[in-house]
Amino acid sequence: MPHPPAPVPAMLFLYRRTVANRLRQQMGRAKSPRYLAAVVMGMLYIWWALFRNAQLGSGPLAKLVETDIAVPIASAFLLLSTARWWLFGGERSALAFTPAEVQFLFPAPVSRRQLVHAKLMRMQLAILLNTLIFSVLLRGGGSSVEGWQRGLSLWMLFSTLALHRLGASIVHANAMEHVGTARRRLVLPLVLFGAVLVAVIYGVVTAWPMLRIASIAGIKAVLLAVTDALRSPVSAAALWPVRAVLEPVFLGGATKWLAAMPWAVVILALHYFWVVRLDKAFEEAALEATQHRAERQRRFRSSQMGNSRSRKGKLARVPKLALTGRPEMAIAWKNVVAALRGGAWRTQLLTFTIGLAAMAVVARSASDRAGDVFMGVTFTWGAMLLFIGPLWMRFDLRLDLPRLAMLKTMPLPGWRIVAAEIAAVTALHSVTVWSLMVVPLMMFLQEPALLAESGATIPIIVSVAVGVPVFNALMFTIQNGTALLFPAWVRLGTEARGFETMGQNLLTTGATTLVAAIALVFPVGLGALVLWITNDWGGWSVLVATILASAVVVAELWPLLLWLGGVFERIDVSEVAAST
């Protein structure tokens, strides 16, 4: 007598073996001394990043999450993130199965509900890893809850968010594909979300006079005023569901945790039943998303992602390439074209500038110390872009390595190819960071008194303009160097990843920053020495110090580039093929 189909054990087997085999394959690389050294360094770094703080007894992140302002601010942030999924459909990757999963699971005797469960099971892999990373990072703090309690809270938070993103993606994808019932199904969540957003904005708007007064007292007072606004009855009621899943993570003390947990469980359970009930819409949406991903991956493997043509069929205008001249310019030009046509870099730049201009207007109307506030915002944004930008701006070797065989046939020494790949993305990203300064400069030109008030001087602004490309070159060299040295481990391509990988991204950013910090010891030391000798911290000595420091960075990058060129020439194409 034949056995009945057992899809759940089969899927569990599939995911268990997938993880085990992938791990084995990745660890197999450690036989090579280069990868082995990376494993050792990586383990030391993870120990340092995750465990050292905990051993000190009070991790800075753990202290931060237990402050009074954490829950309201995080609730508002989370609400905005989830609103994005509803308005723009979330990330299709939330729905997608791999082509092999589609081939084996969809025609198999597996119900739609079981398919939803398969997707949920697979999402747990990333969620559990993320939970582990954040549980360790959030350890410490005298009043905090036990480790397992925080871990459970984090798992529930990430699972609820994952379910929400999946649900939003299913409803949105169906509404976009169909008319009638499917589209009507989107109306209710959009109305609900709209109401919640309006309620939160209403709370902030009614607190506007308080915010104006607080802005004079500094950023901490502003944060407290925003927190009070979010705690007003209307905003607090609207934010309750978000707060309910956040509180177990953020509230210190076992009693508070116990009181907060039941509500978080209810929200998670509601999400689960909601997503499982969407099973009919799921299959179609998942297939469509899978097809979309396959198309994107196919494009990436042979070249790039994204839609190059506008809806009207026009191609984005790009700079013209002269047919003669230094050949590496062709490589740099190609990457600029990729950013303009494939990566919508120009749109991002425009959005940044418009956003900043809007912020400038708001800052000037909201505060009597607009220059101060706006300068702070600009520099915070700039710093974020400098450190995080190289992770998502990937129009360099990380884009081209899957075509390594073709790159290797180019009649250029390796270092010139590597330099061209890095130069293009450095130039583009420098323009992005420079653009941050356009709006404040305009603002200050209109009202020069604001400049003096903000503490920024012309030499400081010029120094920032000079230092940005050099710093970007360093950061992109680190990113490209890592991709070249460890192509089998580094994510190649440009596909966006969900919040489930937030923990991994945090560690990657930390590692990059650490390497950059080591490289900057001498340049920054030299710059500081110049400023100390001249005792001029706002004048033209700043520019001299910046130029000297930049020269040292360039001197460090030069041999590094030559070495990476050698690595490029020796790298085996099969090593890259395994990672794409």
Partner: protein, 243 residues
């Protein structure tokens, strides 16, 4: 001219290609044939400078690929079986990119001529995603021909082409050989090999099995006389079940 002397490629303990030596003179079209996994692509990739040989030497137009790779690469073109194109560059922009990369001084008149020769003129502003498989193949070949290479390496060049495209491509390859290029063509389409190639290189499990014109191969292996190329291939590569 392509000179390969004792070329060996190892992957760990696995021998991919062993002590392969041959020469392709200007105007010659060498057909590289062998069963799947014989080492054809590994050989072509080594000739293109993509893979480093474990031992042996490769010379392109009398330039050692190992000691002066840039000069050697500027004389060769490698067209892989799967066209590697940039989705965000149009057909013409691909050729402009190659022109700058290889320093083609007369690119401006050559680009439209090549587009015409390969029937790509109507698609000159199209992106690769808007091209059929055959058109992509033609674009990859156009990119390879733009700098007038001395050595032309083609891996399954007719994949995806329609009958008219196949005929046109055969004419293009033959024309390049007549102009003095040394051509190596790897293909499983034996009738194409028979029609286009002046000599054959048969490899099996990374080792040379036969090298020369069909007449020379038959002279060395008289038992192959009177057989078709397909039968010769099966006999030479060890799968004798058909014969």
């Amino acid at each position: 001219m392509i000179d390969v002397i004792e070329y060996t490629k190892l992957y760990g303990d696995t021998v991919a290609v062993q002590s392969l030596s041959f020469r392709v003179a200007p105007g010659d079209v060498l057909g590289l044939v062998g069963p799947n996994g014989a080492g054809k692509t590994t050989t072509l990739r080594a000739l293109a400078g993509i893979l480093q040989p474990t031992s042996g030497s490769i010379r392109i137009a009398d330039i050692d690929l190992h000691t002066d790779p840039v000069a050697a690469k500027s004389r060769l073109a490698f067209i892989p079986d799967e066209p590697q194109l940039f989705d965000y560059l149009t057909v013409t922009e691909h050729l402009q990119f190659v022109a700058r990369l290889y320093g083609v001084h007369d690119a401006a008149p050559r680009i439209p001529a090549l587009l015409e020769e390969l029937e790509l003129s109507a698609k000159k502003d199209a992106l690769p995603t808007e091209l059929s498989r055959g058109m992509k193949q033609k674009l990859a070949i156009a990119c390879g021909l733009l700098h007038q290479p001395s050595a032309l390496l083609l891996d399954e060049p007719l994949t995806g082409l329609d009958p008219v495209g196949i005929r046109r491509m055969k004419e293009t390859i033959a024309a390049r050989a007549r102009e003095g290029a040394a051509v190596i063509l790897s293909s499983h389409l034996l009738h194409l090999v028979e029609e286009l190639c002046t000599r054959l290189l048969v490899i099996r499990k990374g080792q040379l099995v036969a090298l020369g014109t069909i007449a020379e191969i038959v002279e060395a292996r008289p038992e192959l006389a009177g057989r078709s190329l397909e039968e010769m291939f099966i006999a030479l590569t060890g799968d004798d079940t058909v014969s």
